[in-house]
Symmetry: D2
Subunit: 182 residues, 4 copies
């Protein structure tokens, strides 16, 4: 099946990496399933719900070639969530998977990758298939069973062309823990 | 691929059905993925953990042809967990999927299906593929992500021949909620 | 301070006791704070919420003279929740505090003590002071902090005359786990 | 009963206040029960366990004169947990009670109040009676029922002279969420 380049996941732009010896890119990871996990360290829903779920995903798929990439997509309180604070956060929360700081935008508070993907806020996640296409993206934290099912299918198959969005939370501001871009 | 009859899931023996207009059997359900959920109504781990997980499975796979079958596998306190009590239990816990009473054994406390499958206690689950073979069985409650992954794979594929066992709990008696056959 | 006999907690009527060498009564327990815990073994909210809270109360007040008394107040599915089933339930759930079967009513489904206290359903609790007066009764499960505060105050003081009711759940039927008398 | 000045809670030293129109002190709060809640914004156990418990305490004792005071006792990663980051943290977590930044120490990483009280790490709490004496201090998060009981007793009585310590967690480093002074 020919790859539909229109559906290719846009490349990520990262200004600083943690937990990886060398910079990463989707290009480098092509051929593997990639779970992009967008968060902010001061986002309550990220800390309480999304990061623990990422841990469970790490454990459940430890024997596979799933690549989990954290993306610190700061869109508010920029001064409060600097890389120095992120480094301490990753240390205290014992986060071992690679985490990139989303490249700050030049004209506005939204960082580049976040804007490129049209993410609505944090936590968000994007599942990218072995062929580099976006399989699923979600704002908020989805049910573990559905998440497990979706990743397993992505690992088993060359990614079908599909693009759907699930909005778990219709919050505005940081109601209920997740943070929405104003 | 020729079906390996040696791996065929043994038929279930049920003395009384609830929540189904007609008796069920694995033979009737052949072609669908079947999740056999073995429980006892007085087993704490069944009530606190396994039944809520079954609800989440129902929800996550509502749009698929997954068949969930409860099996009341009483191996102790038989008089306390009669079908009359089971009927009230199903009503109070709003359980809507078909539930069968495992056929009482003639020589000993273990009911027939439970013995046939070699279940170690409750809660237990058996995942049966579209071709009628056992894909997985577990004693205790497994992680939601792993469960979601496994069911999704079973729904996507004709079942490969596989037989493995996961023992979540190594309890004896009803320690930690699950109940082990003495 | 003279005791206000109008506020005296009505005596409990029990047809069968478990976990106690001799029958109990409020008369016998006079001078101690008594927590009456009304439940049904097939009431989901009792099993999931109220009984675990009773365990935490037991632990927190283990060094005091608080008396915890379970009362099996069956008002529906009588045949399903017989003393035989209750005995197995207490065994499986490892309940060690004294539990009495509320005396069945002669004309109607409500047992005697439940009717005498005007309980609205299960789970319910009644806190009785050292002087035998009702300090508090609640339908549903209240917040642990408030419960801890209330019991501590009762243990510290001769009970003031007070009678209030908190309705945690306004369920009807067994919505949300608790069961309401029809 | 004469006040035992030896048991008086040492005064707190705060370099910056949030959520209060004017600086606070134990001297100013004398006559009220004070709950000092020591935390760090990057301490997992503070965020997951202690701060939610403080919210429940706020709710349960809303109608009393209990004073809850947060104390940001940073003893590691100082640069990562600056007042700018704390301000955003309080905003995102919707913390409304007064919070003071513990005065940085001059010789070493421990801030002044933390050292003065001999706190072992975060989260910690200190309960101070109406007469200004320390009633209880704890490292880690204690059971809600016990916490509710202890605060209710403090509110009801002039504080008895008592000084005890409960160590909920014997962690070292940030194991299990709480952070121990190295």
């Amino acid at each position: 099946m020919p790859r539909n380049d229109d559906k290719l996941a846009p490349e990520i732009s990262v200004s600083q990496w943690f937990n990886t010896p060398a910079p990463l890119s989707l290009e480098i990871l092509r051929g593997r399933v990639v779970l992009l996990h967008s968060f902010q360290l001061l986002c309550p829903g990220c800390v309480a719900d999304a990061i623990p779920q990422i841990r469970r995903i790490e454990r459940a798929f430890a024997s596979t070639d799933l690549a989990i990439i954290g993306l610190h997509t700061v869109f508010e309180h920029h001064e409060a969530m600097s890389p120095v604070t992120l480094a301490a956060f990753l240390h205290e929360y014992r986060i071992r998977y690679p985490v990139g700081v989303d490249q700050p935008g030049e004209d506005g508070p939204l960082p580049l990758t976040m804007r490129r993907y049209g993410l609505r806020g944090t936590p968000s996640s994007v599942l990218i298939g072995r062929d580099g296409t976006v399989l699923h993206h979600a704002f908020g934290v989805e049910d573990d069973i559905a998440v497990g099912a979706r990743i397993a299918m992505a690992l088993a198959h060359p990614a079908p062309v599909a693009d759907c969005e699930a909005d778990i939370r219709s919050a505005d501001g940081c109601d209920n823990g997740s943070c929405v871009i104003p």
